[in-house]
Symmetry: C2
Subunit: 268 residues, 2 copies
């Protein structure tokens, strides 16, 4: 049992939880909670830690048995209660924490090339709210989107809050983080025939009157400022979402969800 926060593994987990830079350098991130760890594909698990006493509960026994059968290469260790708390990002830790490898997705994965379905992509430019990003990835799975493209100035996809709010979808929705968003957009338009839509004040057509049955991508911008001029001018077309009252905009994850589910509806 690990009983000291001076243990190097423990120090590293605290760093992985707190620092995007560490996650990026090690290509590792942290997943907390019994249900959340159960959603991690076995081959991505490098280490699993459980709180003192967990192995003596019925739930703990069943969990650890299932875990050792599907994640044979992962180390599994018991941790003293106070040390376990210090490792966790959540205020009420749920007994289990895992260190998980990042997946390597390609642009082809995001385009859904191997699925045979037309591309259905969400592009996030400088999205800042972890809850919004997590919710968009979660909804993307539900709506059958093929993948997500995120620019590097967005909130870190692997931060604890984003990972939590994806509800496991982070492992099932292909995603890439790109330095040069403009050239990625140009590539999917020119080389892959994707129509890229921006929700924009200049849009003169409502989203539910447009055709998203072909390869489609939706650009979603920063919560406060929307899409940058440089990125929005790369759109194939503008669209608008109707708004009653005096509202100036919808929440970013709501806008993305309406567009993804309209695409889902049209493709049924």
């Amino acid at each position: 049992m690990i009983t000291s926060t001076n243990n190097n593994q423990i120090k590293n987990i605290i760093a992985l939880n707190k620092k995007a830079r560490e996650r990026k350098a090690q290509r590792l991130f942290v997943v907390e909670g019994i249900r959340a760890v159960a959603e991690v594909p076995g081959e991505l698990l490098t280490a699993v830690y459980y709180v003192e006493g967990f192995a003596n509960t019925d739930e703990g026994k069943a969990f650890l048995k299932e875990l050792s059968s599907r994640a044979s290469q992962a180390s599994i260790e018991e941790v003293a209660t106070s040390v376990f708390k210090s490792m966790c990002d959540t205020v009420t830790p749920q007994g289990v924490l895992a260190v998980v490898k990042m997946q390597d997705f390609s642009l082809e994965d995001v385009l859904g090339t191997s699925t045979g379905k037309p591309a259905h992509i969400v592009i996030l430019e400088t999205l800042q709210d972890p809850g919004n990003m997590g919710t968009i990835i979660r909804t993307a799975e539900g709506a059958g989107a093929t993948g997500i493209i995120i620019n590097s100035t967005s909130v870190d996809l692997y931060s604890p809050k984003v990972v939590r709010s994806t509800m496991g979808s982070i492992f099932r929705v292909p995603h890439i983080i790109v330095q040069d968003l403009a050239s990625t957009i140009k590539a999917i338009e020119d080389e892959h025939g994707v129509a890229v839509y921006a929700a924009h004040l200049k849009g003169d057509r409502y989203y539910d009157e447009m055709d998203f049955t072909g390869p489609t991508a939706f650009m979603i911008g920063n919560e406060g400022n929307g899409l940058s001029d440089d990125i929005s001018k790369m759109a194939t077309s503008y669209l608008k979402i109707p708004m009653e009252g005096k509202l100036e905009s919808l929440n970013a994850s709501v806008a993305a969800s309406l567009l993804m589910y309209e695409t889902h509806r049209q493709r049924k």
Copy 2:
């Protein structure tokens, strides 16, 4: 200028920001930020506080001039920088803070009776996340919903985070908070002919194949546990939202948004 946190007004604002009980007892809440205070109807403003020096900026001059013309009965006071910070819920206060009266909406307001439109209501049962509640109210305005019914065990509508995430919609979307949600649901069904829908595993029809052109309400449950059995069994009908992949549920505000915008689409 107020220079001490021992000032009774300042102490009361801190209490209003921190305690739902105080807000409820005084029927007052706090709105922070220049844009947010600009959205408050003048007759609801009781007091406005601005940070030291704000009145000397061009933005401050214009803001305070506009404010005094539309909120003649509100007191307006300057506050020392350190005191202003202590009053604010946000980490980076934006120079202006207002104490605002709660509005008194009736069930008739929520039903939209005076608008002549069929009711389009969202019912929230024990919703816990402030961001979800704020987003639902914001989207309700955009989708033209007539009002919101919230049970008393939901997160407090007037908490700083909820108020912020409504983006001003809290002043424009009729809402009531009820102790006995079941009897309110019974009343809108029996006395007002509203069809009350629950998104539910038992639902056998997809939401976009149902008719929401008549008086309609959607029930949205707690983020972790969904609707309680007692409330979900009161639904006129169950519905389902299609989900691909392995997803078990959508985020509460996403589910509400899809249902409200489907209703908007059908009523266009």
